[in-house]
């Protein structure tokens, strides 16, 4: 049997994970001495309240290889069992590395770690496709090959309200040059092929939404779309309505970004993952 594994940066909540038949390994979030398992010990609203009010900045850490190994052992009970383990971009987190180390405990071909080259809703879109393949009887190698093709067509568009948190977390990378300096600039970033890159800078959320619509319109036919936000459900819902207007046939889900990625995105973030049609 083919088992799908991911980590908590996919922001797949318990219900969603059950529905897709995916096991989720949590990352860890720390506020000073206190530590929480992402999506297990603390819900997102509580987390964002603390993120914006706490004097201590949270830090995050990848699961240990042992956490993955333990899960893999549970899933690989029968001879025919295989695992495809899909994770946050290796350039953004060491999670994939832990999974790969854990995979070495098992015979070759039993655990297939895959770099999603993406985050959050982007991982979700890939998992949807993998689950469909699995249900259609595609074997592990076939699922992996399809994932590796799909991730090239995947982009997550991230409209930040502020660069403060990305900056604070040291994950700013090439977006650094895009910092507004003194002026409060709201950047539109993209996560594509594992890199966070600046797309545009705007001064207001409305301008940013217009820009998101513009870039998505330019993409051409899409296979699937999913959205995330951190603390702004109404604004995200407004953008979703506009996207539904643009893509009436698409089922666009809207979820809340979890603490790990939220630590870097900060409050006010809206994200849209798009998977282009093949």
């Amino acid at each position: 049997m083919l088992h799908l594994v991911t980590d908590s940066t996919s922001d797949l909540l318990a219900d969603g994970a059950r529905e897709l038949g995916v096991s989720v390994v949590p990352l860890t979030v720390r506020f000073g001495e206190e530590q929480f398992l992402d999506g297990v010990d603390m819900d997102a609203d509580t987390f964002y309240r603390r993120l914006t009010t706490s004097a201590v900045s949270p830090t995050t850490s990848q699961p240990s290889p042992e956490q993955f190994a333990e899960l893999y052992r549970r899933l690989l009970r029968e001879d025919g069992d295989q695992v495809v383990s899909l994770h946050i971009a290796g350039k953004l987190s060491g999670t994939l590395q832990s999974a790969s180390l854990a995979a070495q405990e098992f015979a070759p071909g039993r655990v297939h770690p895959v770099d999603s080259l993406s985050v959050s809703a982007g991982i979700q879109l890939l998992l949807r496709q993998a689950a469909r393949d699995r249900d259609a009887g595609v074997d592990a190698a076939g699922v992996v090959a399809n994932l590796e093709r799909a991730r090239e067509r995947l982009t997550v568009w991230v409209l930040l309200d502020t660069l403060t948190y990305l900056h604070r977390g040291g994950r700013i990378g090439r977006a650094q040059a895009f910092l507004g300096g003194v002026l409060n600039v709201k950047p539109l970033l993209q996560v594509h092929l594992g890199e966070v890159e600046p797309v545009a800078r705007v001064r207001s959320r409305q301008q940013g939404m217009a820009k998101v619509i513009e870039v998505i319109r330019a993409l051409g036919p899409l296979q699937s779309v999913a959205m995330m936000h951190t603390t702004v459900p109404e604004a995200a819902e407004e953008l979703r309505a506009r996207l539904v207007g643009l893509l009436p046939e698409m089922d666009i889900t809207l979820g809340q970004l979890g603490p790990v990625v939220g630590t870097y995105g900060g409050p006010g973030l809206i994200g849209v993952a798009t998977l282009k049609a093949s």
Binding site: A177, F178, L179, G180, G181, V182, L183, N184, V185, A200, R201, V202, R203, S204, Q206, Q207
Partner: protein
């Protein structure tokens, strides 16, 4: 002849003297120096011929600084005997020093005049008339949409009068006499051609400035005989407007007594400085190489390759070298191998461009640009050259920091009342260290200046995104994508200009009724997208007046407070605005601009 307006000043250039049939380089030099002194004497009067009651680019100062740069270079002409050589040097100097729209057009007039005299050591009356007409033609070409009732009309009509006098067989005195009279008459007619002048009750400032220059030039030449004046011959005392002989501009209109020269001059200072992130744009290196037997072409090619903006002129006897280089010592050594050197001058261009030109200083005797005159240490290793850079004009430290934060490579100081010169912008463009550079003028009076910069550099592709105010410039900067080419960026940035509106709050510098508003000197006035939209006695009320009249409420208003605005007062103003407009997001920043207590960006 089109010169017979009753009451026009009676010139006596052609008094009982032998005809002046030919002049050379030294005559022109003397004429230019005299013209500069006349322009200086009338600078404040020209400045105050301002159409709008807002503190604006000072036409008189801009023309003065432009002509001063021309005269400085004319003194250093490769062949001081040659009319063509002197005018060529003057034209080059004016192009380097040109600032403001009127300064740029003046530089084009001088360029055209120089083209008309090119290659001529001595010139006669028909040549002078030709050159004036060529000056007009070149000036018209410099402006995309030529407007009549401006300096363009004045130079064209002066040229036509000169042509008429030359065709009638007049000597140089007669040609210039008619040109000057027609220039003044043309100035008087500018309000008939341009409604903004009529409404403001003034004649065109640039046109009047040109008439003053032409008159100073003409009178100096008329004074000379066939002998060339010495280089240090004292210039003729200038007539100032209001003194008996020269009539005040606009006097014949009856409606506008000349405004006092002191009006509106309070606190006006000009600053022409370039601020860049890295220091050092090399050294402006000048010297003469003495022959005999110089191989001019080889010298020009060899030295020209050692720097930028090279000007190597001369012949086998004497070559004048003016090169911007990072390695002045190497340049000097190369030249010394070919001839004896003199008049060696090396200026650190970064120091030169940090020099602040105060208005008062501009009225004083010329001090030269000797700041930082030394053979400095070689400049530090340059950062790798970029594909695309941006140079932005901004007044005040706050705006400089904001623009740098957005990725502007070099900020050239300047703005409303202190327009940067072409050379200032060129220096900024070079310091950006990029193959292509986009200039954001951020002021309507700097756009034309920016559009001339490409003439002075071949190795850098210069593009201008015509931002008319700072909110537009910032909006354009936000649209910049360093990953795509300059043309694509220019198109995007131009599109971004339309996404933002500007509201500039200032104080009226004089009574007026511009744009249908009765305004008293000292009133608070709000300029919305370049038009006076409201006036009153309080900043908040005037801003509210404009916001209340908008069709659609903006989403975000960024308030930039000016120099001298108390931080608490700015904060209180923004709080009051927030209270009245709960749906608009407000941001407050320190812009540091002069003359404008508040600049608001609405988007």
């Amino acid at each position: 002849m089109p010169n017979a307006e009753p009451g026009a000043p009676r010139l006596t250039l052609a008094a009982d003297r032998p005809p002046l049939t030919e002049v050379g380089g030294r005559h022109l030099n003397y004429g230019l120096r005299t013209a500069l002194s006349w322009l200086q004497a009338n600078q404040d009067v020209i400045n105050d011929l301002n159409v709008f009651p807002v503190p604006d680019g000072d036409t008189g100062s801009n023309m003065y600084l432009t002509l001063r740069s021309a005269v400085e270079d004319a003194q250093k002409a490769g062949d001081p005997q040659s009319a063509g050589s002197v005018m060529q040097a003057a034209a080059h100097g004016s192009l380097m020093g040109a600032r403001g729209n009127s300064g740029v057009i003046l530089s084009q007039i001088l360029r055209g005049f120089a083209q008309g005299l090119a290659g001529k050591a001595r010139v006669d009356a028909p040549a002078v008339a030709n050159a004036l007409q060529e000056a007009s033609a070149v000036a018209y070409k410099a402006v995309m949409k030529p407007t009549e009732g401006t300096i363009l009309t004045v130079v064209r009509e002066a040229g036509e009068a000169a042509r008429g006098a030359a065709d009638a067989g007049g000597d140089i005195r007669a040609v210039l006499d008619d040109a000057v009279r027609e220039a003044h008459a043309s100035v008087e007619r500018t309000p008939e051609l341009l409604a903004v002048l009529r409404d403001a009750g003034v004649v065109d400032a640039g046109g009047f400035g040109f008439a003053v220059i032409l008159e100073g030039f003409a009178r100096a030449l008329a004074e000379t005989g066939g002998e060339a004046p010495a280089d240090d011959a004292p210039v003729m005392a200038a007539r100032r407007v209001g003194e008996p002989v020269v009539r005040a501009p606009g006097e014949s209109l009856g409606a506008t007594p000349l405004r006092g020269a002191a009006a509106g001059s309070e606190g006006r200072r000009g600053a022409a400085a370039v601020a860049a992130k890295d220091e050092g744009w090399g050294y402006c290196t000048e010297f003469l190489v003495h022959g005999p037997g110089l191989d001019f072409a080889a010298l020009r090619d060899e030295l020209g390759a050692l720097g930028e903006s090279s000007l190597v002129v001369g012949d086998e006897e004497l070559v004048r070298v003016h090169i911007h280089t990072g390695d002045p010592a190497g340049l000097i050594a190369a030249a010394a191998a070919r001839g004896r050197l003199s008049k060696l001058k090396v200026e650190d261009m970064s120091a030169q461009h940090h020099e602040v030109l105060e208005r008062a200083a501009a009225s004083e005797a010329e001090t030269g640009r000797s700041a930082g005159e030394h053979l400095g240490t070689p400049r530090k290793a340059a950062a790798p050259r970029k594909a695309l850079g941006v140079v932005s004009v901004a007044p005040g430290d706050g705006f400089r920091q904001i623009l740098e934060g957005l990725g502007v490579d070099a900020v050239v100081a300047g703005g409303q009342t202190m327009n940067p010169s072409i050379e200032d912008l060129l220096t900024g463009v070079r310091s950006a260290n990029a193959d292509a550079v986009i200039i954001l003028p951020n002021n309507k009076n700097v756009i034309l200046t920016a559009q001339q910069v490409h003439q002075l550099t071949e190795e850098i592709g210069v593009h201008v995104v015509p931002s008319r105010n700072l909110p537009q410039g910032i909006s354009a900067m936000l649209a910049l994508d360093p990953g795509v080419d300059a043309d694509t960026n220019r198109a995007r940035m131009e599109e971004a200009l339309t996404t933002v509106h500007s509201l500039e709050v200032t104080r009226a510098v004089r009574d007026s009724s511009a744009d249908g508003q009765e305004i008293k000197a000292g009133d608070v006035i709000a300029v919305y997208d370049g038009r006076i939209a409201a006036s009153g006695s309080e900043d908040l009320a005037v801003i509210e007046d404009v916001l209340g009249g908008l069709d659609t409420e903006p989403e975000l208003i960024t308030v930039y407070s000016g120099a001298g605005v108390d931080a608490g007062a700015a904060q209180a103003l923004v709080e009051a605005l927030r209270g009245r407009h709960p749906d608009i997001e407000f941001e407050l920043h320190d812009g540091g601009q002069e003359h404008y207590p508040y600049i608001l960006s609405l988007e």
